[in-house]
Subunit: 199 residues, 2 copies
Amino acid sequence: MLDRDVGLDIAARLFWERGYEGTSTADLTKAMGINPPTLYSTFGSKEELYRQALDFSIARENSRRSEILQSNLPVYEALSRYLYDIADGDTQPDKPRGCLVSTAVLQHAEENASVARMTAALREASMQVLKSRFDRAITEGELPAETDTDTLARFYGAIIQGMSAQACDGACNALLKRLIDIALTAWPGMRQTSTGNSD
Amino acid sequence: MLDRDVGLDIAARLFWERGYEGTSTADLTKAMGINPPTLYSTFGSKEELYRQALDFSIARENSRRSEILQSNLPVYEALSRYLYDIADGDTQPDKPRGCLVSTAVLQHAEENASVARMTAALREASMQVLKSRFDRAITEGELPAETDTDTLARFYGAIIQGMSAQACDGACNALLKRLIDIALTAWPGMRQTSTGNSD
DNA sequence: ATATTTTAATAGGGATCACTATTTTAATGG
DNA sequence: CCATTAAAATAGTGATCCCTATTAAAATAT
């Protein structure tokens, strides 16, 4: 039998490219070079394998991204680098496009509702991480105390999800970063409010 | 046999809720109250039915949304109302969550690549509509001539896709609109540029 | 070397996939 | 009323779905 982590890496990549519903257990066993019974004795089920593959992939990326976000950099700078890192992840040369989690299992068959709840929870958790960083920025005087950090986190979460969708559709790295640059102009206090019309 | 438009409406709703890969022809025939041969004689194939159902649904929404966007309102106001209308569409009480098109067929099995190309083309087209409206705003003096309207359109496209994803995950209408309000602060000339740090 | 346990491979189970050939029913025409 | 055409239903195509019972091979133990 193959190494467990190698198997999870192969599975994560297949799920990343084809989604949960678009990846069959036959695809998985073939790519791993194992027989079906080995998959089930090692990982339990397709859903359990998906769960483990997501955890495995997230754990690998989380250390770097968490370091970026929780560093001593000003929050605006940390957020910028965090988003840029995600844009890079969405457009790696020899990897599937987009993000494994951001746009996974949105529309789905009812039988896969529990899988959808899992990916939704992962997305919610990553937005809560953003919100926590923004809350810290308030205590450190980098953001006004009245800032709606929850909505602000969901706004950048939407950007992350939109980038993943557009990367799946073929968007290049530079485009995603231009898009981030616009999103960053929505940062509170970045600019002084005016009427909204330029004429 | 049932009315063709009624069938397309039923199909669109199923595809909306479950996605292309998550909806079976058995689901479709059962929901329409027809037999499999009727589905194939009327619509050709599952993929062709999907295509027709998307066209049907889009045509119905497009008249209203196009009217909002192409009205004589200031472009900022038109964009605001356009995005709010989409947020309403993402969170209708007795309809599936999110947008039928915005987050459809992103990750997919290779056998469904042509379906993914179709939905990607629809998303691209809707962003080009936004870009055209922004280009018009330049000619009418509402936006600086040097505005990168393409990226600006893709930025709001990302917001639309992010809203759809979050609506699928359960986000309420008010949250999506707060999110839009933040996205609108990124509108060019909305505020005067400053350093980026509030301290 | 034989017996026992562990591991891997084959083979297949029951269900569902998208899709059709065939039969049955219904409608139309003389 | 019967013949012919058109519509709808049944039934079933081979393929694939996720998952497992069973068999074959390999490793360990006596």
